[in-house]
Amino acid sequence: MTVIQFAFLFFSIQIIGSSLVILFSRNVVHAATALLSTLLGVAALFVIAGSDLLAVVQLVVYAGGVLILLLFGVLYTYRAPETYYEKRNSYISILMVVVISVFLMLLLSDLAFNFPELHRPPTDRFGITKLTGYLWITNNIVVFEGIALFLLVVLVGAGWIASRIIELNKKES
């Protein structure tokens, strides 16, 4: 077993284990911490797959942005666990994971597990970062501009919803 294979096994176990923690934990803060572990493991898998730029994007956007935002949501809507009761249905959860996974395995087995042997194209001296930047502003410029417009719409929409929250706060006080 080479180092790469060992690293892949280690990070796969980390991803699956911490996502199972999210599935079964009662405490929302524990679940958010387990989500951090999952996202870091996925970033490591990106590095193993040769996409170091995407791993950095994953760290900055997910681990740095989305997770902190989610923790804000968790702490803002926190209620003591005794005040509400969620029925524990571990068997249904496990059954659902098994059913969906087996179904997808069967669905994808023809395509995925008989995938022809391919060879990774040689990347340039700068890795994939330079090539990605070049492709974004040449072949995929329309998509790039589309994302920019979309993010503007999201910014305005989130600001509008936040103004409703401020109005509600004023009404309460």
Binding site: F8, S12, I15, I16, S19, L20, I22, L23, A31, L35, T38, L39, V42, L45, F46, I48, A49, G50, S51, L54, V57, V61, Y62, G65, V66, L69, L70, G73, T77, Y84, E86, I92, S93, M96, V97, V98, I100, S101, L104, A112, F113, F115, H119, R120, I128, L131, T132, L135, W136, N139, V143, I147, F150, L151, V154, A158, I161, A162, I165, L168
Partner: protein
């Protein structure tokens, strides 16, 4: 060199766990975390296949998905906080309407 089928196995398991979270949990924050897991499973698949592509289409599309997921979680969290202000609950079974 890791074969593509290993990546697909990991991503299928992650997708299964994510959809189980979305379908079984009642707390809306857990549902949001499950959706993030599903996005990540899709990204692993795209990157695993995209490493053989000369034009990096899989990785560019994965970057697009990360951006859209971040925007989605911003809007979802602001709606969650607004709902919590109005209804004092994050339980999906108690949330029935968005109107006043």
């Amino acid at each position: 060199m890791i074969p593509v089928s290993y990546y697909i196995t990991v991503s299928i398991l992650l997708f299964g766990i994510g959809s189980a979270i979305v379908l079984t949990r009642r707390n809306i924050l857990y549902v949001l975390m499950g959706i993030e897991l599903i996005f990540n499973a899709a990204n692993i698949n795209l990157v695993a296949f995209g490493q053989y592509d000369k034009y990096l289409n899989g990785q560019l599309f994965a970057m697009l998905i990360i951006t859209v997921a971040a925007a989605e979680s911003v809007v979802a969290l602001s709606i969650i906080i607004l709902l919590f202000k109005k209804l004092n609950s994050v339980n999906l079974t108690e949330i029935k309407n968005l109107k006043e």
